[in-house]
Symmetry: C2
Subunit: 392 residues, 2 copies
């Protein structure tokens, strides 16, 4: 095993756990900030550490284009390249191919598509996605899958699920053959991983499988069962948040979780709002990621314990209150809504920096509170319940 996972407390379906990776421990349920191009947009790594981020997500497709996965390997891997000594997870690139490329052609072998930067032709396969992720050297990497579009005909959903299953087997086979090629140069120093190994910790990456199956509960069950048969140290639920109603997302998640191993991490890809991450954690999801807190911040949309705030609104121009009086982040501790509104309205770069720091802090604090609730044997059923406990 390349990671270790231990469930430490549970309440209802929700559970608290500890995920041990070659680059440190991750308390679950965890929200993973998205650092697409080896940077969480606008936020320096020391601030991410101060916020308590224990794991970041990097996008293989974007890093494949810039600076290139072999460049990252030559520079000692993603941890060293971006000076992030804690855990990293990379996606396989499959979702970006699905969402960014209009001209893609899927065959049994893989996907032919065009770069969103310059239109140049590219080809990703389970094997090349594994090679790319081994070169990047994240702690957790993902099988190459096809994200089924929504809506889709039943035959198409099955066909797509079957393809993802065959690609999962190829991903695992290629990963097992190549996993010792990971070239980790730890930013904590050359001996850090050796010392970690001395404590019985792993030295290779962990490859997670991905459950597909569209919006069909039976296909989801079949996908889960057959992915587990291939065998991975953790399982993701993919193909959601692709335009379906939220009630349906929830139904699929709740139903799919029942078919996943209780002693392994469960990763729900690409969600969600603050309300949703609380809800999914309560259903038993251990890991989540989403661009929402960082992307919304860039558009002046801020999450607070009292609801969403669009900081560009004129009503905040003279508002001396902190963004969120219940938040203890460095932004809420120092700046007023009036100042944040001015920065945003004036197009100042600091607006993006401060807004992103606050939104990430809000997400990470929310998950910390959820973990605390579960550990205390309480039920964190909603965001407002979680934050009502955090109020000073």
């Amino acid at each position: 095993m390349s990671i270790a996972f231990r469930v430490e407390a549970a309440f209802g379906a929700g559970r608290c756990g500890r995920l041990t990776t070659p680059h440190g421990e991750v308390e679950t349920p965890v929200f993973m900030p998205v650092g697409t191009l080896a940077s969480v947009k606008g936020v320096p790594q020391d601030v991410l550490e101060d916020l308590g981020a224990q794991i970041l997500l990097g996008n293989t497709y974007h890093l494949y284009l810039r600076p290139g996965v072999e460049q990252v390997r030559a520079l000692g891997g993603l941890h060293r390249f971006m000076s992030w000594p804690r855990a990293i997870l990379t996606d396989s690139g499959g979702f970006q191919v699905f969402s960014l490329s209009e001209l893609r052609k899927v065959t049994e072998e893989g996907v032919t598509f065009r770069s969103h930067l310059d239109g140049s032709p590219l080809f990703f396969s389970p094997e090349s996605a594994m090679d790319a992720q081994i070169a990047l050297g994240a702690d957790i990497i993902m099988a190459f899958d096809e994200c089924t579009e929504h809506p889709a005909q039943p035959a198409r959903v099955r066909e797509s699920m079957e393809l993802t299953l065959r690609w999962a087997a190829r991903s695992k086979k290629h990963f097992e053959a190549r996993k010792h090629e990971v070239s980790w140069q730890d930013p904590r120093g050359p001996d850090a991983l050796v010392r970690a190994n001395g404590r019985g910790l792993p030295e290779t990456q962990a490859l997670f499988g991905i459950v597909q199956g569209g919006m069909d509960l039976a296909l989801r069950k079949e996908s889960a069962t057959r992915t587990i048969e291939i065998g991975f140290p953790g399982y993701a639920i993919g193909g959601l948040s692709v335009g379906e109603p939220r009630a349906l997302t929830r139904e699929i998640v709740e139903s799919t979780i029942e078919h996943l191993p209780a002693d392994q991490p469960r990763y729900l890809m690409g969600v969600g709002t603050p309300e949703e991450i609380v809800e999914y954690a309560a259903l038993g999801i251990d890991m989540m990621d989403c661009v929402l807190p960082t992307r919304a911040a860039r558009h002046g949309l801020l999450f607070t314990s009292q609801g969403k705030i669009s900081i560009k609104q004129a009503q905040y121009a003279g508002d001396q209150a902190p963004l969120d009086p219940n938040c203890s982040c460095r932004v809420c501790a120092r700046y007023s809504r009036a100042y944040l509104r001015h920065l945003y309205a004036s197009g100042e770069v600091l607006a993006q920096v401060l807004n992103t720091v606050h939104n990430l802090s809000f997400y990470l604090d929310t998950m910390r509170a959820v973990r605390h609730s579960i550990a205390l044997g309480e039920s964190p059923r909603s965001l407002s319940e979680v934050w009502s406990r955090l109020k000073p």
Copy 2:
């Protein structure tokens, strides 16, 4: 007196001093980072504090447009608005009118011009510039002057200098009548300024005069003499760095300093490169400001003890060295040139943040080293001499 200034050490023409303002002490010679719109672009205030910035510059013209000076007054003044408890200096807006507005009309009364944002008509006069700066509430504010264009005919230079002298007298008269209208709400708490007063410190702003006179040494002397006759607690040298050769700038500065009071602060506006700020400090300049470190950072131009680096260049793509091995800033301590190059080439916002932090750190460290040299009775004649002493 609204500020106090004490020369503490001198070597040759250069000197070290201590400028006491209502919002803290400033060690001179000092470089003032430019925070045009109440933000040093991309850098949070706590990072500026960590860098050792003791005084920032704000631009009255820009703040007049956004968020508006009466808005800032209503929010407790610039210190409280931007949560910056240390000293601030504002310019009068005259230079921005000169540099940003193509359609301006100068009369005895003031300047009619158009907003660079929406073309709306605006009018600045010595009186309105004082009112604006009193509303903003910086510790040090500047007389409203005309920055003489270069080149200019002798008669034009005299005419412009005479206008600046009349405007200086009007600036002072209006400021003296209105200076008690400054509404300071200190971000350190309502009692902070009262406590400062209890230690004998001032409660009003300080208005500095500005020496003009183009590139004519005799007119510079006359401008200095007559501005001193009006009487200010500090004097700026304006109208330089407007396209003239650097040797001429230096000649004007050196010559003008001789006519300025030795016991009052001397502020050279709008300079310069790292080499120049060392040089001007050695000539006896106490205060300087320039957009160069922050603006260059946004274009990937970085100052180091080994010279300038254009981080966008491909040669840095695989360079694992820190930006400047002699620099101890948080950027050089953590990130490689390869990472900084990747961020810049990928258009990541973090590039601007980190580049600006480094360049400001380099400028502030340079001035710290200059002060140290002067205090030790050494001659900091050049940037390379200064940094050769800083090397580990």
